[in-house]
C-alpha cells in the first residue's frame, strides 16, 4: 500500500535552495515598488532645486533682491521680490490655524470623550466627506457664498458703525470680500478634518486608566480633559497642527480663488493679498520656460518644497520626543 507521503517528491531537510528561491523574485519586485517612492522624491527634489535656483545662477538675481517686497515682472528691469508671497502664505495659514485649531480639537474631543455611538457614527463619516471635497469646489463655494457674504455683512452700516470692528472693516480694499479673511476661512474648513483626525488619534492613544483614575478621584469630565487628557496628548495635537499647517500652506486653487491676488504685503485681514501657491497658479501659464519671470515662480515652488520638508522633519522631531518621554 502506498504511503500518503509518496504523493510528494522526496525532499531533504538540508537541500540547497534552488535558483528561484535564491532569487526570491517576489521580494525584489515588492521592494522596487516601495522604493519607487524614494526615486520620485529624489527626482522631484533635484528638479525643483535645479529650477528654483536658476533665478540666481542664470539670471543673476541676488538673494537680497529675491527676499524683497517689490514684485514687478513687467518693468524694464523686472523685479522679483517674493516677500509678499511668503508673508502672504504665512499669514493666511496662521489665520486658518487660529480658526481651525480650537474647532478641530473640540471636534476631536467631542468624538473621543463625549459623543455617544450614534453621534460618532454620523460625525466621523461627515468628516471623511469633508476630506473628499475637491479644492476647486471649496474655492467655488468661497466665491459664490463666502465672499459675497463677507462683503455684504461687513460692509454693512451696522458693522461699520461698531467701534474697532468697524474701523477694521471700513479699511480700503474690502469692497468685494476677496481678502485674507476669506482665504483663512476657506482654508480653516479644509484643514479641519486633518487636525481633527490626527488629534483624535492622539486622544484615543491616552490610556483609559488615566481617565478612570482621574474620574475616580472625583474630578469632573472637563477637569479630566483639561488636566490629564490634553497634557498627555499635547505632542499629538502639535503634530496635528503642523500637518494642518502644511496642508494650508500648500493649498493652491481654493485660496487663489478667494484671496484677491494682489501682490502687496498683507496689512489687514480685510485686504486682498496673495500667496506663493496662488501666484504660481496664476502666472505659470503666462510665462515662457527659461525667462526670469518663470524662474522666479520656480524659486517660489522651491520655497514651498522647503516648507513641506521642514514640516516632515518637525513632525518627526515632535514624535521622537513623545516616544522618548
Amino acid at each position: 500500500m502506498a504511503s500518503l507521503t509518496s504523493a510528494y517528491p522526496t525532499s531533504k531537510l538540508r537541500a540547497k535552495p534552488g535558483l528561484l528561491e535564491r532569487l526570491d523574485l517576489p521580494r525584489r519586485v515588492v521592494f522596487v515598488a516601495a522604493a519607487s517612492m524614494i526615486i520620485v522624491v529624489a527626482m522631484l527634489m533635484i528638479f525643483i532645486v535645479w529650477q528654483g535656483t536658476q533665478l540666481f545662477v542664470k539670471d543673476g538675481y541676488s538673494l537680497g533682491a529675491i527676499f524683497d517686497a517689490k514684485w514687478d515682472p513687467l518693468a524694464d528691469t523686472p523685479e522679483f521680490g517674493i516677500l509678499p508671497f511668503i508673508l502672504g502664505t504665512i499669514v493666511v495659514t496662521a489665520g486658518a490655524l487660529l480658526i481651525s485649531t480650537p474647532l478641530s480639537v473640540g471636534v476631536a474631543l467631542f468624538l473621543s470623550e463625549v459623543a455617544p455611538k450614534w453621534a460618532k457614527s454620523i460625525v466621523q463619516p461627515a468628516l471623511e466627506i469633508f476630506v473628499g471635497i475637491p479644492s476647486v469646489v471649496w474655492g467655488w463655494l468661497g466665491i459664490t457664498v463666502l465672499v459675497p457674504f463677507l462683503a455684504d455683512t461687513f460692509n454693512g452700516p451696522i458693522v461699520i458703525s461698531l467701534p474697532i470692528v468697524g474701523t477694521i472693516f471700513s479699511m480700503p480694499g474690502f469692497l468685494t470680500g476677496f481678502s485674507w479673511l476669506a482665504g483663512s476661512l476657506v482654508l480653516s474648513i479644509m484643514v479641519l478634518p486633518t487636525i481633527t483626525s490626527v488629534s483624535y488619534d492622539a486622544f484615543r492613544a491616552v490610556p483609559q486608566e488615566l481617565r478612570t483614575g482621574s474620574l475616580a478621584l472625583g474630578t469632573t469630565r472637563w477637569q479630566m480633559i483639561r488636566h490629564i487628557l490634553i497634557p498627555s496628548a499635547l505632542s499629538g495635537v502639535l503634530t496635528a497642527v503642523v500637518l494642518g499647517m502644511t496642508r494650508a500652506a500648500g493649498e493652491a486653487l481654493a485660496v487663489q480663488m478667494v484671496i484677491g491676488n494682489s501682490p502687496t504685503l498683507p496689512e489687514a485681514i480685510t485686504q486682498p493679498m496673495t500667496t506663493l501657491t496662488s501666484q504660481i497658479t496664476l502666472d505659470m501659464g503666462n510665462t515662457v520656460f527659461g525667462e526670469p519671470w518663470q524662474d522666479a515662480l520656480w524659486t517660489m515652488s522651491l520655497v514651498l518644497l522647503v516648507i513641506s520638508i521642514t514640516s516632515v522633519v518637525l513632525v518627526r522631531v515632535i514624535n521622537k520626543r513623545r516616544m522618548g518621554s
Binding site: E209, L210, T212, G213, L217, G218, T219
Partner: protein, 287 residues
C-alpha cells in the same frame, strides 16, 4: 461665579493607633453601618452581571469580596462610587446607601460621591506627572491652591501611604511613572488619601505586584483600617484571610450572573462556612 468648592483645611482622618480588634461584630449597630446595599442588580444591556446583592459594611472595617472570575465582584465594587456610569449600556437597580443616603439617585453628584468614596485600581495608574503633582491632583481640582497647605497634604498622604521615605528627595523631579510597580500602587493610594475619602475601594490592588510589594500593601491596608472603611476585591484567598474583617463570597449562577453566596466574619468564612459552595471554593475544589 465661585470657581470651585470651598475646600476645608488640608485634612486627613486622624489615625489612632489602637490595639488590633479582637473580634468583629458583623451585626453592627445601625449607626456603625457605612455602606448598605439593598437588592443591587447590575446588567450590561440584557445580560445580568450581578443579581440581587444585599449586604452592609461596617464603618472602619475591611470587607473582602472573593469569588471566581466572572462572579461580578469588581462590577459590584464599582457601583459603590458609580464607576459603572462610565460603561455604556450598564444599568444598576436597587439601593446603595452611603451613611444612609442612596447614592443611586439621579440628583446625587457623582463628583461629590467619588470624593468621599475613593478607588484604587488593579493596575497602578499614576498620571504622567511628578509624584508631587500626582498627589496634589485631587486637592487642586477641588480648588486647594495654597502652596503650604498642599505641601503638608502631599507629605501627610505620602507618609500615610508609606511612600514618603522612598520619594521625599525627588518629589517634584521624578515622574510617577518612574516608580516601581509597588511604589506606583502606593502612590495611587496616597493620591486617593489626599482627597480625604471616607471609603476606599480596592479592585485587586496587589494582583499586578510582586510578593514583597503585596505584603507592603496589605500592611498598609491594616493601618488604614483605623481611619477608613475599605472594600477590597481579591482573587487571593490568603490575602482576604490576612487583611479583612468580613468576607463576602460571590459566585456565578447557571445563567452566568454573579450573586452573593454568603457574608460573614472572615475567620468564620474560612473555617466553618455555612454554605457548601463556599467551602468548595475555599478548599480549592473549584474556581
Amino acid at each position: 461665579m465661585p470657581i470651585t468648592a470651598v475646600y476645608p483645611e488640608p485634612v486627613l482622618r486622624r489615625v489612632e493607633v489602637t490595639a488590633p480588634r479582637a473580634a468583629v461584630q458583623v451585626a453592627a449597630r445601625p449607626a456603625d453601618i457605612k455602606i448598605a446595599t439593598e437588592h443591587v442588580s447590575i446588567s450590561y444591556g440584557d445580560k445580568v452581571a450581578v443579581r440581587d446583592v444585599s449586604l452592609t459594611v461596617q464603618d472602619r472595617s475591611i470587607l473582602a469580596l472573593i469569588g471566581p472570575s466572572g462572579s461580578g465582584k469588581s462590577t459590584f465594587l464599582r457601583c459603590f462610587n458609580r464607576m459603572n456610569d462610565l460603561i455604556p449600556g450598564a444599568s444598576v437597580k436597587g439601593e446603595v446607601c452611603l451613611d444612609g443616603e442612596n447614592v443611586m439617585e439621579a440628583d446625587v453628584s457623582v463628583v461629590e460621591l467619588r470624593r468621599r468614596v475613593g478607588m484604587v485600581f488593579q493596575r497602578p495608574n499614576p498620571f504622567p506627572m511628578s509624584i508631587y503633582e500626582n498627589v496634589a491632583y485631587g486637592p487642586r481640582r477641588r480648588g486647594l491652591n495654597d502652596r503650604r497647605k498642599l505641601n503638608d497634604l502631599v507629605e501627610t498622604s505620602l507618609k500615610r501611604a508609606a511612600l514618603w521615605d522612598e520619594v521625599k528627595d525627588d518629589l517634584r523631579r521624578k515622574s510617577g511613572l518612574a516608580l516601581s510597580g509597588g511604589q506606583q500602587q502606593r502612590l495611587c493610594i496616597a493620591r486617593v488619601l489626599a482627597t480625604d475619602p471616607e471609603v476606599i475601594l480596592m479592585d485587586e490592588p496587589a494582583s499586578a505586584l510582586d510578593p514583597v510589594s503585596t505584603l507592603r500593601i496589605e500592611e498598609l491596608m491594616r493601618e488604614l483600617r483605623e481611619a477608613y472603611t475599605i472594600v477590597i476585591v481579591t482573587h487571593n484567598m490568603q490575602q482576604a484571610a490576612r487583611v479583612s474583617d468580613v468576607t463576602a463570597f460571590f459566585t456565578m449562577a447557571d445563567d452566568r450572573a454573579g450573586y452573593l453566596v454568603e457574608v460573614g466574619p472572615t475567620g468564620q468564612i474560612f473555617t466553618r462556612p455555612s454554605e457548601q459552595l463556599t467551602e468548595d471554593y475555599i478548599s480549592g475544589r473549584f474556581g
